[in-house]
Symmetry: C2
Amino acid sequence: MVSIKDVARHAGVAISTVSKVLNHYPNVSEETKERVNKSVEELNFLPNSVAAALSSKQAGRVALLVNLSKKTQVVGEIDLQYIQGAIHKAMELNLDVITLFFSMFQNRTLEEITRYLKSQSITGIIIYGLTKEDVVLHELVESKQFKCVVIDAPIVNEDTSCVGIDNQRAQYDVARKTIEENNCRQVLYITGKKNGYVTDARLLGMEQLTKELGLKMQVCDGKFSELCARNITLKYGKDNDVVVCASDLMAIGAMKALIEMDIFRPVCGFDGIILMGYVGKQMNTVRQNFAEISSAAMEELQRLMNEGEGRIVETAYNLARMKYMDIIC
Amino acid sequence: MVSIKDVARHAGVAISTVSKVLNHYPNVSEETKERVNKSVEELNFLPNSVAAALSSKQAGRVALLVNLSKKTQVVGEIDLQYIQGAIHKAMELNLDVITLFFSMFQNRTLEEITRYLKSQSITGIIIYGLTKEDVVLHELVESKQFKCVVIDAPIVNEDTSCVGIDNQRAQYDVARKTIEENNCRQVLYITGKKNGYVTDARLLGMEQLTKELGLKMQVCDGKFSELCARNITLKYGKDNDVVVCASDLMAIGAMKALIEMDIFRPVCGFDGIILMGYVGKQMNTVRQNFAEISSAAMEELQRLMNEGEGRIVETAYNLARMKYMDIIC
DNA sequence: CATAAATAGGAAATCGTTTTCCAAAGGAAA
DNA sequence: TTTCCTTTGGAAAACGATTTCCTATTTATG
């Protein structure tokens, strides 16, 4: 393997000079900079990231910490897009990333987790799927030992940023659209899991909307589960004239219930997963680009690791109407 | 961070001695071994894997190279389970893994890919989703620069193993079961993509079966696509008395077509994905445990990196009947 | 013109391991 | 007792970068 040493020799400069050129340090003349770059080109040099990670405590590696949705396994699609987006961006930014799952840290103390991450030379973390129940992981974020970017949970401090869409507004928007299209007055709102951050935000959106439009609303806990949503709809669907769900999966459950009861009610979902295509009916939904979100998270983490302060990063969403033919041959 | 140096000091031995104990070298007396281990315990020492990777060329890191199924995105479930299984096992075995996607290497030459992997100190690779079209990746495997484990493709050489189920026998089994249960004589077989290795194996299974039972068979290329399978079934479903599909997704398409035409034909699928639960009908399928397969792959890679010779590793499968209620609240 | 300040580039320490090589000590054989 | 192995443990050189000093050389300033 061609190393920085070879480049130095080839360019007739010192190793440290090559390193400085590579990392865009000042105090290198244009002339030598060019000479080094030419050598890099000619020798096809690519720095060894392991050595770099060991050497510099600063430019460490990042851990992608994913909470796989167990109950609603079918939406593996979402998790996968998060993973993919993050890893792609990391490669682009020349960051090393290792992927980890919440399940690996179950029953582990903060100290153990910290130790493990440090043994991997990790200095930055991206967390997806954090719930209020994950106390140890909250402690991890608060411990300030690592730069963190939390997806979809409103946690911000000196070295922690959060990224995601504005769930409150998105829920407001999609529900409003559906309700106005169908002139509804009495809403059945099926929420997500109690301990999830997005659940709260989306509920707030609904409360704002119903207040503004002077609607009645019945709120039920659907736990992000298709079957729960189905059962709730079977029970209360008839008494309401629209069913708003905090996820597509639950919306599918609701639709199935309505079909079963043979009554029509407009339904709207949230997420814009491809699975929607398999339902054979249309509904409004909020389409999130998960790959883009995690990509933004990675960029934010890099910023955090270099410069500084945590902040809130908001990503875009759009309203969509999903239907069968979204899947093509 | 507590380092090997601290352990050495605490135990009153040399750094090299600690390393030897940690890596189970011979030539260390039980006595010192114990003393070192006690120090490791007391100091809560965990070796820095980055330093280890840099230092030893041998005990390198592994790349998990995944070909995400673009067309049939909905089966992200499968990809995810592969990823999860591999990473879990890697942690257990104390191996570092970085996850990569085929898409990152598109239009890259063998030389570029090799260089990148080496810059990451990678010495072992697990590949999933390899098709015959991926020439460069085939070259990569053949180049013998890395130890490889290929999932679901029959590639074996000095330092390449393959793991997966016996696709031929599995296809034979599930089709035979379905056909005998329903007493069929004329089979419509919808295959997967032309360039896939499993496609060939499964087709062989069908050929063996139809020959043995003296059945007629019509073979169509369904490209692992739901809609293709649907169209094929619409066209030829009536002329046959059973539809065998090389994937669950295609089986779903076939079922939809049959429902559309309002005729009954037994259908069987392959994979055992959870999505099956969303169909609302029953069918036979081959259930693979993807997490277990990639877990086995990781174990095999470790063996390959330490000892030696490539070989074929066969994992288990079982026949299952999937239905709606597999999804619980 | 002399001195101070700024700039370019190199030498060497460092990061935390692994691994090779060597020396000391212990035991067996002569 | 001497000689020769065989264990055991330590010293030090990698691994391939980064980063901190430090020394020349320029350039600016009085």
